[in-house]
Subunit: 351 residues, 3 copies
Amino acid sequence: MSDSVSTISIGELAERFGCELRGDADVQVSGVATLSDAGSASIAFLANPLYASQLATTAAAAVIVHPDAAEHCPVAALIAKDPYLVYAQIAAELYPLATLTPGIHANATVDPAATVPDSCEVGPGAVIEAGVTLGEGVLVGPNSFIGRDTAVGSYSRLVVNVSVYHGVTIGERCLFHAGAVIGADGFGIAKQPDSSWLKVPQVGGVTIGNDVEIGANSAVDRGAIEDTVLANGVKVDNLIQIAHNVRIGEHTALAGQSGVAGSTTIGARCLIGGKATINGHITICDDVAVTGAAGITHSIKKPGIYSGGIVPMDDAASHRKNSVRFKQLDKMARTIKKLERAVFSADKPGD
Amino acid sequence: MSDSVSTISIGELAERFGCELRGDADVQVSGVATLSDAGSASIAFLANPLYASQLATTAAAAVIVHPDAAEHCPVAALIAKDPYLVYAQIAAELYPLATLTPGIHANATVDPAATVPDSCEVGPGAVIEAGVTLGEGVLVGPNSFIGRDTAVGSYSRLVVNVSVYHGVTIGERCLFHAGAVIGADGFGIAKQPDSSWLKVPQVGGVTIGNDVEIGANSAVDRGAIEDTVLANGVKVDNLIQIAHNVRIGEHTALAGQSGVAGSTTIGARCLIGGKATINGHITICDDVAVTGAAGITHSIKKPGIYSGGIVPMDDAASHRKNSVRFKQLDKMARTIKKLERAVFSADKPGD
Amino acid sequence: MSDSVSTISIGELAERFGCELRGDADVQVSGVATLSDAGSASIAFLANPLYASQLATTAAAAVIVHPDAAEHCPVAALIAKDPYLVYAQIAAELYPLATLTPGIHANATVDPAATVPDSCEVGPGAVIEAGVTLGEGVLVGPNSFIGRDTAVGSYSRLVVNVSVYHGVTIGERCLFHAGAVIGADGFGIAKQPDSSWLKVPQVGGVTIGNDVEIGANSAVDRGAIEDTVLANGVKVDNLIQIAHNVRIGEHTALAGQSGVAGSTTIGARCLIGGKATINGHITICDDVAVTGAAGITHSIKKPGIYSGGIVPMDDAASHRKNSVRFKQLDKMARTIKKLERAVFSADKPGD
């Protein structure tokens, strides 16, 4: 793969991405930068109010800003209602996806019974087993593995060191990062009378839609009987565990180190915070947001924001004191009830 | 590796696995399916009451059911006290372990001073260093690594992209999934007077018993001085951290993203829930269950179920309100005490 | 790589590491051992009071002890104020880093446009892309990958199966364990009007200082615009997520399964406990310790120990009861206030 960075005028950017332009349309930019570090060939953006104070002194060629911030912009402004989205669009323009170097590397191992179009790039150390079908323009990066009978849609990319087991179906334009594992066995074990475990064969597969991104060292297990399913546009960050038979709806995004236990269904357009834990065998409806590190123990039937799991940070000494009280909470609640009865009941003296 | 699926009559299955059969013993099944998706060549099971409602309409050839559910089964029934275990046994029969293709792949790198029986399969990109000893029928899958002087017992399988460091001992019939790392250095560092860290050499190894399964991207560190030890039958799910000098007893199972800190001993037949955190330098006795996401901070001397760590899920606004109160808990407790004294003390008017 | 273990007299060890010696200076030791397992050729240490009871019966040749414990040592004693640090120094002496076997393995793939000094060891299956620059004595272990234009400083070691993306800068004497991923894309996605996500190109890199250790299956993402930065001496345990644009100061150590969300800055000499979650866009000052599994949601401006996140472990039934009350905490607090007013207000009878 190789990079290439284009140069473009801010006038053309404004037009192409529907922004109002304040400033010289002919200014050329060749890259993006932060407000604080930008030079005269860079475009910056302001989306998070945390960084608003950096606007006044930026040396960027232009800044993508919300209408409310435009008047404070000391340089050319591309005014947009969603500056972050426009930034993403412009960055995608300036930093297009690296183009592939088609061909199968001499140090790759591709079974003759695999289908690998000429437009694919198969890197050194990559292993493709029999019955695998790749679409056009697929990247199977160095030391990546695709097990037998797995299908990978066009323009999907397994960057490096990705393991995709047998019998998996992957859509188009997916992006899997280093160490991602798709289709390892689900954790199915049955207790035997002697207390040892009998492994339950995991005979389902994994079905992954189009435009799915899976981060470094995340794992999506194969189903026990039916497939584990990630719908179109699902985005999975790093070090995430998705257990067998989980189903995740379109455009749901999961942040780093979150985990979803077996047979749970998550709806579309959900946002799962980092390190959140989603129990098994529950259903979460569409449009639910789960805060970071939350523990979701029951099904959710109403869109909204859900928390739980953790209690607030504190200095360690205070936390220890309050934590001790947590273990007395039920007792405290009962005492309060008794007090209420004693203090507020009709026959109390003074009432 | 390759699959094979057998066909078998439900009469034979009933006999072999000790079930009472209701229905036509000659019905043939060739696979397993869920109650809702099963067709006439599939056997299904009902173990989790969550799915009981699917029994009435199943099109399965037969269903493995508990005696209590047998009368509701609209098709042939294999009646067993533990339907999930019988399901596991039947699935293992119908989906036997893939057989190996013995031999060392041309793209593997095997040191001449390693012992690799002819019955082993060593995949492309696999690397086996000097002094390694493999038992019969071992699978060293694509791009897997085994460091010098490590021993792997017969019929163990490193599926793909597994890293086993030097000086590790692995038993028979183990199964290690993609990205599993066995024997990396424990996290031993000593603070120096200038605040920098001095690495503490990790000179212990790892000893793993028979029938141990380790999930995708899990890590079992080598010991600082003595070995980290996983006894026979231990089952480790995905993305789990087992730190140096941990010892885990027979048939203990750990669910995804749980972690065990250094020098902790966990007994036999324990169940560690997903994302649970087990502190270092503690001892957990046999037959302990730890709920998901729990934080286990102290030794446990009595079998039972232990929780802690997280508080219940809630809508985010309520959680925020209650969380604020958590930080006032100790103060609340003291106020309650004061109230109790004022309201219930002997000299209170009206008593 | 290969090991070598030296033999040395305890007199020389005492002198070299500034310990007071009680016992025969000529006693030779060739290895380290625990107090309970040591034989007559081993040196042991006592640093954690948990193991003090093992001192009386040790069969070690010598024990490194704190002055307070010296009188209880039944064998030769090396007396030091920080026995663990002296142990680390002696162990490093007895177990020096394995020496490399310089050269590029025939099964490695090294681009002709990469700079690989003769003193480097490049293992089988390793892949080094164009523009990569390695310092002297670098180890690129089996099946490891280094993307184009990345620089790795002298004597750094990528043990096995490490993935370092393009455009990363790594200092000297770093140690990266199996499955570590450096420079994968940060999790940058922008919501589009149709609810699908647009990927935000991650055009920053990663800058890693000298003497940084990164554990098995940990991930350090590349920056969105600027670099993610780990300063000199940072120590990262296993299965840790470090998101884009995080900055971590010198000699800060993070324990297993902790995670740092995007754009957060952590100061120098911090200790982040296992499974701790550090929110994004916050700043933690120097010399902060965060307890295990804590959730750090806000910036910290004062050195100290911080907790939060989890509540204490308990038996599951008690935890369930108290957890229910957690959801009533705000209501309880209000009731207490009402009671206080009723009981302690001036016009209450009896006051």
